[in-house]
C-alpha cells in the first residue's frame, strides 16, 4: 500500500473516527456471541457437559453424521455436474448449466415438506426420509448449488494453457485432473464444502420436519422445553466449533500456498466430446438433481396450487410478498453499506488491521444457529423501547444484518483485492474526496463484487426462517413463515401458491447469481 493512502497521523481525525467506527461495529456484531459466552459460562448452574454429556455427544455425533452424509453428497453432485457442464459437450449442456442452479431457489425445509408429504401419500416410491440418511440426501439436493456455482466459475478460469502445459509434460487425462484441475479447484471446494456444512449445522426447519436430532434441535429443546438458556448457549458454542475448526485448518493448510488467477480472460478449455452412450447418459444423470431438488417439488406444488385455486383465499399474499420485499430491501441496504464502508476503512487505514481478527470473528454470526441468534438479540434488546420489537422490523433487520453480513463483506473484500493500490494514489493526487473515490473509483470497479454479495443476501434472506419466526413484529408475515408453518403440519397444499411465489421471487436472483459468478468479467 502506498504512503499516500496508508498513514494518517495517530492523532488525526480520520484515524480516530476509523478506530471508533470499527470498535462500534465490532461491539454490535459481537454482542450476540458475547451473550452466548456469558450465558454458557457465567450462569452459575451446572454445565450441560456435566449433567448430560451423553446428550451433547449424541447430538454432536448426529450432526457430524449428517455432515458426513450431506457435505460429500453435495460436493459430489456440485463438482460432478460442474465438471460435466464445463468440460463435456453433450446435448442441452447450456440449458443444464442453468437448470442445475435452480434448487438454490427452493428452501431446504420446503423440499423436505414436499418430499415427506409425497412419501406419505405414496405419490412417489421414495425410501423412508425421516432418518439421518434421508435428511442428508434431501439437504444435499438443496445445498449442492453452493458447490456447483463456484466450482463452475473456478473451472471457467482454468484456461486451455493449463491443459497444453500438462500435455507437454506428458500427463494423461487422470494425471491432468489430479495434479492440475483438482489442485486448482481444491480451495474453492473446501470453502464451498464449509458453507454447506454451516448451512447444515444451523438448519432447524428440515431437521425438525424430518425428526433428526442435531445440535440445532438440541438448542431448541434446551431453550424451549427445558428452559435452560445456558445449555442452549453451550450447545451453540459446540455447533460453532465445527466451522471454526474447519476454517482454521483450512487457513493453516492454505497459508503457504500461492493462488494463481489468470490476469486476463483465459482462453476457454476445449470440450471433451463423449461417445453416443455418453451423450444420452450424461443428460440423464444431470436430470436427477434438477428433478429431485427442483422440478418435482415445484410440479407437486403447482398441482396443489391448481387443485386449491379459489378454495384457499389469497388475500394475504400481497401483504406477505410486501413484507418479504421490505425485509430484503432493508437488510440489503444495512449489510451492503457497512460491508463496503468497513472494507474501505481497512484498505485506507492500515493501522485498523489490528481489528482484523475481530472482524473475522464477527462474520462467524452466520455460523450461529438462527434460533440462538434471535434469542440473543431478543434478550440483548430487553431494555430497548417496547415498540421497537412489537411495532417495527428493527430487531429482525438487525439480526438478519448480523447473520448475513459475511456475504457482502467477503465478496467486496475479494473485489477490492483486485483493485490496484495505485488507483488510490491517483485518486488522492486528483484530490478526490472519500465520497468521490467511492462513487467514481471503487463502485464502478466493484460492481460485480457488490452484485454478488447483494444477490447472495437476497437468495438466502427470502428463504430465511428461524430469525423471522422468533423476531417477527406484529402484522408482519413474510412468505417463508407462511410456507414453513404449513410444511411442518404436512399441509403444504394449503400454502402451495405462497410457496411458488417464494420460489418465483428467488428464481431470478439465483439465475443472475449463477451468471455473475460463472461468466468472466465483462460478460456477466
Amino acid at each position: 500500500m502506498s504512503n499516500l493512502t496508508s498513514k494518517p497521523s495517530p492523532l488525526s481525525l480520520t484515524f480516530l473516527v476509523g478506530h471508533l467506527l470499527l470498535a462500534l461495529l465490532c461491539l454490535g456484531f459481537l454482542a450476540p456471541l458475547g451473550y452466548l459466552i456469558r450465558e454458557a459460562f457465567l450462569s452459575g448452574r451446572p454445565s450441560l457437559i456435566s449433567e448430560a454429556g451423553g446428550l451433547v455427544f449424541s447430538q454432536s455425533m448426529t450432526t457430524l453424521t449428517l455432515l458426513l452424509v450431506t457435505v460429500p453428497a453435495a460436493v459430489l453432485i456440485g463438482t460432478g455436474s460442474a465438471l460435466l457442464v464445463s468440460r463435456v459437450a453433450f446435448p442441452g449442456r447450456k440449458l443444464f448449466s442453468v437448470l442445475l442452479c435452480l434448487p438454490f431457489a427452493l428452501p431446504p425445509y420446503l423440499l423436505a415438506g414436499v418430499a415427506r408429504q409425497a412419501q406419505h401419500a405414496g405419490w412417489l416410491p421414495l425410501p423412508p426420509l425421516e432418518n439421518l440418511f434421508g435428511c442428508g440426501i434431501l439437504l444435499a439436493l438443496s445445498l449442492y448449488p453452493w458447490v456447483y456455482v463456484p466450482v463452475k466459475a473456478q473451472l471457467s478460469l482454468q484456461s486451455r494453457q493449463y491443459r497444453d502445459v500438462a500435455e507437454t509434460l506428458g500427463m494423461g487425462p487422470w494425471e491432468r485432473f489430479r495434479y492440475v484441475h483438482a489442485g486448482l479447484m481444491l480451495p474453492t471446494l473446501v470453502v464451498t464444502a464449509l458453507l454447506v456444512a454451516m448451512e447444515v449445522i444451523s438448519d432447524t426447519g428440515t431437521v425438525t420436519i424430518l425428526g433428526v436430532k442435531t445440535l440445532s434441535v438440541g438448542i431448541m429443546d434446551a431453550m424451549f422445553s427445558m428452559d435452560r438458556a445456558d445449555w442452549a448457549a453451550q450447545l451453540s458454542l459446540v455447533g460453532i466449533a465445527f466451522p471454526v475448526v474447519a476454517v482454521m485448518l483450512f487457513a493453516l493448510w492454505h497459508r503457504r500456498r500461492m493462488e494463481y488467477q489468470p490476469p486476463n480472460r483465459p482462453a476457454a478449455a476445449p470440450l471433451h466430446v463423449p461417445g453416443p452412450m455418453g451423450k444420452v447418459f450424461i443428460p440423464l444423470v444431470l436430470a436427477v438433481p434438477v428433478l429431485g431438488g427442483f422440478a418435482l417439488p415445484v410440479f407437486r406444488l403447482g398441482a396443489w396450487g391448481v387443485e386449491n385455486f379459489g378454495r384457499i383465499p389469497l388475500r394475504d399474499l400481497p401483504g406477505q410478498l410486501g413484507d418479504t420485499l421490505i425485509l430484503v430491501a432493508l437488510v440489503v441496504v444495512f449489510t451492503m453499506g457497512p460491508a463496503l464502508g468497513l472494507n474501505l476503512l481497512l484498505r485506507w487505514i492500515p493501522s485498523l488491521r489490528i481489528w482484523k481478527g475481530l472482524v473475522w470473528l464477527m462474520n462467524l454470526n452466520y455460523a450461529l444457529p438462527g434460533v440462538i441468534l434471535a434469542i440473543a438479540v431478543l434478550f440483548l434488546s430487553a431494555h430497548a423501547p417496547e415498540s421497537w420489537l412489537s411495532d417495527t422490523v428493527v430487531l429482525l433487520v438487525l439480526a438478519c444484518v448480523c447473520s448475513f453480513f459475511c456475504f457482502p463483506f467477503f465478496s467486496i473484500q475479494s473485489g477490492l483485492r483486485s483493485i490496484s493500490p495505485r488507483l488510490d494514489d491517483l485518486s488522492l493526487l486528483l484530490e478526490f474526496t472519500p465520497l468521490e473515490r467511492v462513487m467514481h473509483l471503487y463502485l464502478p470497479l466493484l460492481k460485480r463484487a457488490v452484485a454478488g454479495g447483494l444477490l447472495l443476501v437476497v437468495v438466502t434472506l427470502v428463504k430465511e426462517l428461524p430469525l423471522t419466526q422468533t423476531l417477527q413484529p406484529f402484522g408482519f408475515e413474510p412468505l417463508s413463515l407462511r410456507v414453513y408453518s404449513f410444511a411442518g403440519l404436512d399441509l403444504l397444499e394449503e400454502s402451495a401458491l405462497v410457496a411458488l411465489c417464494l420460489i418465483a421471487l428467488v428464481l431470478y436472483p439465483v439465475v443472475a447469481l449463477d451468471r455473475l459468478i460463472s461468466q468472466p468479467e465483462g460478460q456477466a
Partner: protein, 339 residues
C-alpha cells in the same frame, strides 16, 4: 343438542356489542386452529386481533417482552405457569371464569385452561388386544420390549406428561416409568406424535404415546387416514386415577394497553361457541360442562369399553407441573432417553 348450543352461541355473538380497538396475541398454537375464531371475533366485536404465531420462540418473546402482547395463548398451559412465576401475567377479571370447571382455572385467576386432550396410547388393531394395555406404568413392562414408539422426551408434551407423573405419583415411579419406557422403545425417539402412529402402521412398533386428538386429525386427511385406520386409541389407567391430559390455556400479559379487549377475546375463547368449535373441529375436550364431544372422539376407547369418548381424566393442577421440569430433565439425561 349440538345445534342448540351453536344456535344459542350465535345468538349470543350476534347480540353482542361492537367495540372496536385492537388486541395483540402471542401464541405457540397452530394458526389454522385459531384464525377462524379470531376472524369471527373481529367481525362481531370490531376489535382487531393482531397475532404472531411464534412457535417455539413464544416463551423467549413473552419473558423478554412481557408487555408487547395483551394475551398469551399456549398449547401447553404449563408455559403459562412459568410466565406467572416470572411476573409476566396479570389477574383476569371476568365472570366467564365462573362457568369453567374449577380445576381449569388458576387459583389466583392468572390464567385459564381453554381446552384439553388426553395423552394416551395408540395401539395396533391387528397386533395388540386392548386387554393387554392398562396403565402408563405398564408400558414400561419388559413385555413391550422393542414395541413402543414415542417422540422426543424433551418435547413439551412429554415433559408435561412426565412432570404430571412426578407430581401425582412421585419421583421414584416416574423414574422407573421413564427408564422402562426407554428400554422398550423400538428406536430412539424421533418425529412427532403422528410419526409414531405411522410407525405402528408400518409395523415397526405396536404401541405409541400420543395426544388422542391426532386420531381425528389423521382421519381427516387422505394421506394419513390409513395410519389412523390401522390403530385405535387407548385411555390409560381408566380403572385407577385416569389418563393424564395436556391442557391449552390463555392468560393476560402485564400490558395495560388493551386489557378490556384482551379480556373480551379471552371470554370469547371460553364462550360456548368457541368451546364447541374447539371440541368439534380440533377434537379436543371442552373445559365447560355441556359442550358435546366430537363424533370422532366418541369412537375413541371403544375397544376398551369406553362409550361416547367419555374417559376418566387425571387433572394435575397446572401450578404443580412446571416445578418438576428440572428434575424430569435430569432423569431424561440420566437414562439417555433421546439417544
Amino acid at each position: 343438542m349440538k345445534r342448540l348450543v351453536l344456535f344459542a352461541a350465535l345468538i349470543g355473538i350476534a347480540g353482542s356489542t361492537v367495540f372496536g380497538g385492537t388486541v395483540r396475541v402471542i401464541t405457540d398454537r397452530t394458526e389454522t386452529h385459531l384464525k377462524p375464531l379470531f376472524a369471527l371475533f373481529e367481525k362481531n366485536t370490531g376489535i382487531k386481533v393482531e397475532t404472531i404465531y411464534v412457535g417455539k420462540g413464544m416463551m423467549a418473546r413473552a419473558t423478554s417482552r412481557p408487555k408487547e402482547a395483551d394475551l398469551v395463548i399456549s398449547k401447553t398451559a404449563d408455559n403459562l405457569e412459568v410466565l406467572r412465576q416470572k411476573g409476566a401475567l396479570q389477574k383476569i377479571e371476568s365472570d366467564q371464569l365462573g362457568t369453567i370447571r374449577k380445576e381449569f382455572v388458576d387459583p389466583e385467576l392468572m390464567y385459564v385452561v381453554t381446552s384439553y386432550r388426553p395423552r394416551g396410547f395408540f395401539y395396533s388393531k391387528g397386533r395388540v388386544k386392548p386387554e393387554e394395555l392398562s396403565t402408563y406404568a405398564d408400558l414400561a413392562d419388559p413385555k413391550w420390549k422393542g414395541r413402543v414408539s414415542i417422540r422426543s422426551g424433551y418435547h413439551s408434551y412429554n415433559m408435561s406428561l412426565f412432570c404430571q407423573m412426578m407430581e401425582a405419583e412421585g419421583p421414584e415411579k416416574t423414574r422407573a416409568f421413564i427408564e422402562g419406557l426407554k428400554k422398550n422403545l423400538h428406536r430412539p425417539p424421533q418425529g412427532n406424535d403422528r410419526a409414531q402412529v405411522k410407525a405402528i402402521y408400518e409395523e415397526d412398533a405396536d404401541v405409541s404415546v400420543g395426544n388422542a386428538y391426532y386420531m381425528g386429525l389423521m382421519m381427516g386427511r387422505e394421506d394419513q387416514r390409513p395410519w389412523g385406520e390401522a390403530t385405535e386409541v387407548f385411555f390409560p389407567d381408566q380403572k385407577g386415577e385416569g389418563a393424564y391430559v395436556m391442557a391449552s390455556g390463555a392468560g393476560l400479559t402485564i400490558s395495560d394497553r388493551n386489557v378490556e379487549e384482551a379480556t373480551k377475546l379471552l371470554e370469547f375463547l371460553l364462550s360456548d361457541f368457541a368451546q364447541y368449535y374447539f371440541a368439534t373441529t380440533l377434537h379436543v375436550y371442552s373445559v365447560k360442562e355441556g359442550i358435546p364431544i366430537s363424533e370422532m372422539n366418541k369412537t375413541l376407547g371403544n375397544g376398551q369399553g369406553i362409550q361416547g369418548g367419555e374417559f376418566k381424566a387425571r387433572i394435575v393442577p397446572i401450578r404443580e407441573i412446571a416445578q418438576h421440569r428440572e428434575a424430569v430433565t435430569a432423569i431424561l439425561n440420566d437414562v439417555k432417553f433421546d439417544q
